[in-house]
Amino acid sequence: MSAVVSSTAPVQRAEAYVGHQHPGYALGRRRLHVVGLERLTDRVLHVELADPSGRPLAAFQPGSHLVVEAGEGRRNAYSLTGDGFNPATYAISVLRLDGGSAWLHRTLEVGGELEVEGPRSMFPAAHDQQHALLVAGGIGVTPVLSHARAAVRAGRSATVLYSYRPGHAAHLDDLHELAGRPGSRVRVVEATDVKQTRVSLTGLLADQPFGTHAYACGPSGLLEAYEEAAELAGWPASRVHLERFVAPELDPGDPFTATVASTGRRVEVPSGTSLLEGLLAAGVPVGYLCKQGVCGECRLPVRAAAALDHRDVVLTAEERQSGAHVMACVSRGRDIELDL
């Protein structure tokens, strides 16, 4: 008896494939209007954006970020400060450093436009949290504010530790406002130097209710202290979440060449294009389904390769080592000769 034989031809899809029908789920690159600008400190500019035609914006999970055009081809990621619930506007707070942030400080004006992409969620709240411990260092307060606002909306409790340099406490008033609302279950703890921050971290991590999740965003020194203190306090890694300032972009990979062994045809695969897309564009038929490295449909036999970068979840460790196959939709490599 034969095992599974999959002899289907590649499925032809409509070119105009639409993920979501409603504009309220649009995440791709688009231009929004700047509807508000507020200087929170001498170096932090708060920016509010809305859809130019008044259409709803995609909702987001707390802790999400927005990718924004930041001049001269630069694209920066900024945490959204709202709770993400059916948002009328997107709000970010931009700390002026150099490059993109300085461009934003210099260029943005109310009534102007800004190209954005997202929101993207890489720092979400755990839905099983019995309580949240939110740790912010400096401008890392932005996703923390988002989490605190979401907790308030859900009627959940949160303890916020905000570590800042005096005079540079963006959004401290917003946190106090949340804590001061009637019935609020949000508490704010402040620290204004490194020693105070460490003492507070240790004290707070030792005394949180069972079932708490902790979230931190801030400079690397704070995050290291946070991770260290959490481990010492016996917190399992599954409860300890953090976000570094810069969210990693999806690695587009280096360009490479693939060769079809039977015909000798060479296909150049540029950076940001998948092997699958490269082959299909060159008219080489390849079956595929998920394009996520999961379904296994686009497995291709490899005759030889200078290097293979497996990014799928289909191949086993042994299969990867053998280098006999590659999942064309996500994996890359160098000088790949395909046994086609």
Binding site: A3, V5, G19, Q21, L289, C290, Q292, V294, V314
Partner: protein
């Protein structure tokens, strides 16, 4: 764990409009909408993570499926929804929402209402920003006579929870999964048409627990791959998957859940005794849709059940032959799990006759 409280069943009262009349006058043809689950040339079934992009129409020998996220079922829609509402009214435990999943239920409701209004604009409508309030909506479903205004996130503005509200409007069983403690968990669901499983028992399970009874799933790595897919599924795309079975009851009853087992368990033996079982055996197709919801990050694992009898399948000789081949080849462990191992020789003979 919360269970929604029992609410009066809203009656199904289609509006008398030309669009509604036209919709309900569509011919009843179970094969025409059936997502035929086997690709051409496919002769041996094994479980696979056969996910595909959704909202792409797929022609079959009998018609077409997959154009929309929700297939209302044509003229059969009010019948299916009447069965759904009766089950919900009789057994409120079919709706289960674990703590922390409340927002995900609103996320789901809004996504589906918006999608339905765009897919079926002549008979379904969603007004947004009612009275200038961005959180206020008005949902009208002319096919069932629903007219409901609500405020997003405010349960007291609906006659029941948002998950049950949606379950009363669409034929799909609604399941929401989210990552918790490193694994994907099924933490909320409104399920009336489960194939011999129980939402009350399964809610809160991770993917490995859910698939424990399925032969080969976890051992072949399929569960891990399915979990990885759902964990990493991009937010800007919608996916689907087709699964199949031969229903344990040779009737068009959708509710063959474990809860209702005493009601349907005798159907097959009775039909076998009467000699009518085999042509009436139902090829039961589950069309699953996966959407990552933006506000909660929950992913849908919604299941729309379609049925066609073997007699209906036999009208299409190529499909009858393919199904016979697949049934004939099906290894015993898979056939036993699917529950129809003892009927295979008769079904194959019938399909080939």
């Amino acid at each position: 764990m919360t269970t929604t409280t029992e609410a009066p069943v809203p009656p199904i009262a289609p509006l008398d409009t030309p669009a509604v009349r036209a919709f309900l006058a569509q011919p009843l043809d179970h094969m025409a909408r059936l997502p035929w689950p086997f690709p051409d040339g496919y002769e041996a079934f094994r479980y696979s993570v056969n996910v595909d992009q959704a909202r792409v129409p797929r022609p079959t020998l009998a018609g077409e499926w997959g154009r929309h996220l929700v297939d209302l079922g044509g003229a059969e829609y009010p019948t299916i929804m009447a069965e759904r509402r009766a089950v919900l009214a009789a057994d409120p435990a079919r709706v289960k929402v674990l703590p922390g999943m409340e927002l995900a239920c609103w996320d789901l409701l809004l996504y589906y209402f918006r999608d339905l209004a765009l897919s079926y604009p002549e008979v379904m409508h969603l007004d947004e920003r009612v009275d200038g309030d961005a959180d206020r909506f008005r949902w009208r479903n002319d096919l069932l006579g629903t007219d409901q205004e609500f405020t997003l996130g405010r349960e007291e503005t609906l006659p029941c929870g948002p998950l049950e509200m949606l379950a009363r409007e669409v034929p799909d069983d609604l399941l929401l999964v989210r990552e918790r403690d490193g694994r994907l968990h099924f933490d909320a669901g409104a399920v009336t048409f489960a194939a011999a499983w129980s939402v009350s028992f399964d809610v809160g399970m991770d993917m490995y627990e859910i698939h424990g009874p399925v032969p080969r799933m976890t051992g072949s790595g399929m569960t891990a791959r399915a979990e990885q897919f759902l964990l990493r599924m991009p937010a800007d795309q919608v996916f689907r998957r087709v699964n199949w079975n031969v229903a344990a009851s040779p009737t068009r009853t959708y509710d063959i859940s474990l809860e209702a087992l005493p009601a349907w368990a005798g159907d097959m033996d009775a039909a076998l005794a009467a000699g009518t079982a085999i042509p009436d055996c139902q090829l039961r197709i589950e069309l699953e849709h996966f959407v990552r919801l933006p506000m909660s990050g929950a992913v849908t694992f919604n299941i729309r059940t379609f049925m066609a009898s073997l007699a209906e399948v036999r009208r299409f000789p190529a499909y009858a032959a393919q199904l016979a081949t697949i049934l004939d080849e099906l290894p015993e462990d898979l056939a036993t799990y699917k529950g129809f191992a003892h009927l295979i020789p008769q079904m194959v003979a019938y399909l080939r006759s």
